[in-house]
């Protein structure tokens, strides 16, 4: 009964290691965009929300699912857009006009 849980934990742990490797290379200058961008990525919960709200699990489950879709989508759209807005402002000394 627990085999699938264990294999999922394996995936989780390996992904944490990948995360550590990748994130430690992000310079402090970009830590705020990193947070807002990773925030958008955590909006991946929308997948679960879509399934729950669309698969006909009963009225209450559907309503909960729709609210979850709205929450997660706010996360995704807000996160990616605001990250892009910030990253557009970062420019080098010799670069052209910012913004």
């Amino acid at each position: 009964m627990l085999e699938s849980l264990v294999s999922e934990i394996v995936v989780f742990v390996l992904a944490v290691f990948v995360g550590f490797q990748v994130i430690t290379k992000v310079p402090p200058t970009l830590h705020t965009p990193l947070m807002s961008g990773s925030n958008a990525i955590s909006g991946i919960t929308v997948i679960g929300a879509i399934i729950v709200s669309g698969a006909g699990y009963g009225r209450l489950a559907t309503v909960l699912g729709v609210i979850a879709v709205a929450f997660a989508t706010t996360n995704i759209v807000g996160g990616f857009l605001v990250t892009d807005r910030m990253l557009r402002m970062f420019r080098k000394d010799t670069g052209g006009e910012g913004k």
Partner: protein, 474 residues
């Protein structure tokens, strides 16, 4: 789930990983963010095409509301309010996890209950999601000044939280294995309805989230936001366990790892352990410290804007140390103007950024980028500290504890051991401050009384504008 869909989720996860890799340089970061959003789009489209989806009305409503709210938020938010926005989005991520797990629980309990592994995943998802949700809302409230920024303490704080956690674990255990002998008293308590214990679990977890963030003071918010960012990732991963989806598990793990790393960086920058930040209620006792040691006084030297401007105008190198006071008075643009004038006079201008200069990791860098300061002029603490020996003038604007030499040489100081910017080693130091009041941690700063320090009192923005005008005439 079909094999094709599984592969599409893997592709989405790979997009996220490459997106985060490209965040390693400001030159490729925008591309990375765009790639990550493509990954998200792939994941969403594949899910919408899933055969188990019967109706689209609800999904569409949710997507439209969420996309609208997200777009408005992203376009209108001020850069100084970025910590609030991240806190709010963390909370939404947690909230989504609670809702998905709850819906799965209701579905499964209507059809004879969940298997042990799914049951554990669901309860964990509810717990982490709810703590993230309410904790983030309190953090948002503190940052937005809706809730007091002070560390809120109350009697029996730790025992109360421990009891709360135990109660949560008991209810969660009951929800996972309702028929075990130990759970019998709870079964009587809850009656037969499956929704009641779930609501109790959600309620208790929400309270735990509130109680664990309330005691944390405003100065420690960078740590808390990073930690809640990590929680939101773990909540997403736990949703992946609930619906058996590796895409969610990998993505959630990436975000969880990111949040933990940032939390650790913030803790190191304040020389505090995570436990000390979460339970120490730093700032609550600091008033005594200020009252006791703050009056140490000594004499300080005041300088006029004219003299300060001349010092900088004829310097070879100036290092600007921006603190949160700069952002509060919205003076980034005024700094940038002053720096441009100095550069026109062949003065070398750098900005020294302490890791906790803003209210979240990297916040000060964003605020300066918004004011068109090129990112290669922003120097990190480790890199800039050796430069102060060769610096003619260090201009400290609204920073206090992060430039306090007591952190280096006064073992009895509460901030002893905290890494600081060594501005006192510069030839001349100009400190811009409203008054002699102590900073966030309420600790007196011997830098202000040093022989090479001159104080320039007043509102940062007004003073900077005056400085710029004087430099122009010098």
């Amino acid at each position: 789930m079909t094999a094709l869909a599984e592969l599409a989720y893997l592709l989405a996860a790979v997009c996220f990983i490459f997106g985060l890799m490209w965040l390693a340089s400001p030159a490729t970061a925008r591309k990375g963010n765009a790639l990550a959003s493509v990954g998200m789009l792939i994941a969403i489209v594949v899910t919408l095409l899933d055969r188990s989806i019967l109706g689209y009305e609800g999904i569409l409503i949710g997507l439209v509301i969420g996309a609208g709210a997200g777009a408005i938020l992203a376009r209108t938010i001020r850069m100084t309010a970025m910590p609030q926005m991240v806190a709010l989005l963390n909370g939404f991520g947690g909230g989504a996890s609670v809702l998905v797990a709850s819906a799965e629980y209701l579905r499964l309990s209507a059809t004879g209950g969940a298997a042990l592994d799914v049951g554990i995943s669901i309860q964990f998802s509810v717990l982490v999601g709810a703590v993230t949700f309410s904790g983030s809302l309190i953090a948002f409230g503190k940052l937005q000044d809706l809730v007091t920024g002070q560390a809120v303490t109350y009697p029996l704080q730790k025992p109360l939280n421990a009891v709360l956690l135990l109660a949560i674990l008991a209810v969660a255990a009951y929800l996972v294995v309702p028929d075990s002998g130990l759970a019998a008293p709870l079964a009587d308590l809850f009656g037969g309805d499956a929704a009641v214990p779930l609501l109790v679990l959600i309620g208790l977890s929400l309270v735990l989230g509130v109680l664990s963030v309330l005691p944390i003071g405003g100065a420690d918010m960078p740590v808390v936001i990073s930690l809640l960012n990590s929680y939101s990732g773990i909540a997403a991963a736990s949703t992946g366990f609930v619906i058996d989806n590796n895409g969610l598990i990998i993505s959630g793990a990436l975000v969880g790892a990111s949040g933990i790393i940032l939390t650790k960086i913030m803790c190191n920058a304040m020389n505090r352990s995570l436990g000390n930040v979460l339970f120490g209620a730093f700032g609550a006792g600091a008033a005594d410290v200020a009252a006791g040691g703050g009056a140490s006084g000594g004499t300080y030297r005041q300088v006029t804007a004219e003299d300060a401007a001349i010092m900088m105008a004829y310097a070879r190198s100036v290092v600007v140390v921006p603190g949160y006071g700069l952002a509060v008075s919205q003076a980034q643009h005024a700094v940038r103007e002053l720096a441009t004038l100095l550069e026109a006079r062949d003065v070398d201008v750098k900005y020294a950024i302490h890791p906790v200069a803003g209210r979240m990791p990297g916040h000060m860098n964003v605020l300066l980028a918004e004011a068109d300061v090129p990112y290669d002029q922003l120097w990190e603490m480790e890199r800039v500290n050796p430069e102060f020996d060769r610096t003619d003038v260090a201009l400290v604007i609204g920073a206090n504890d992060v430039v306090n030499p007591a952190a280096r040489n006064n073992t009895s100081s509460p901030i002893y051991g905290m890494p600081i910017l060594d501005v006192d080693r510069a030839n001349q130091v100009i400190v811009m401050k409203r008054s002699m009041n102590p900073g966030f941690a309420g600790i007196d700063n011997e830098l202000f009384y040093a022989s090479n320090t001159a104080m320039l009192f007043g509102d940062a923005k007004a003073s900077l504008t005056k400085l710029a005008a004087e430099v122009k005439e010098a």
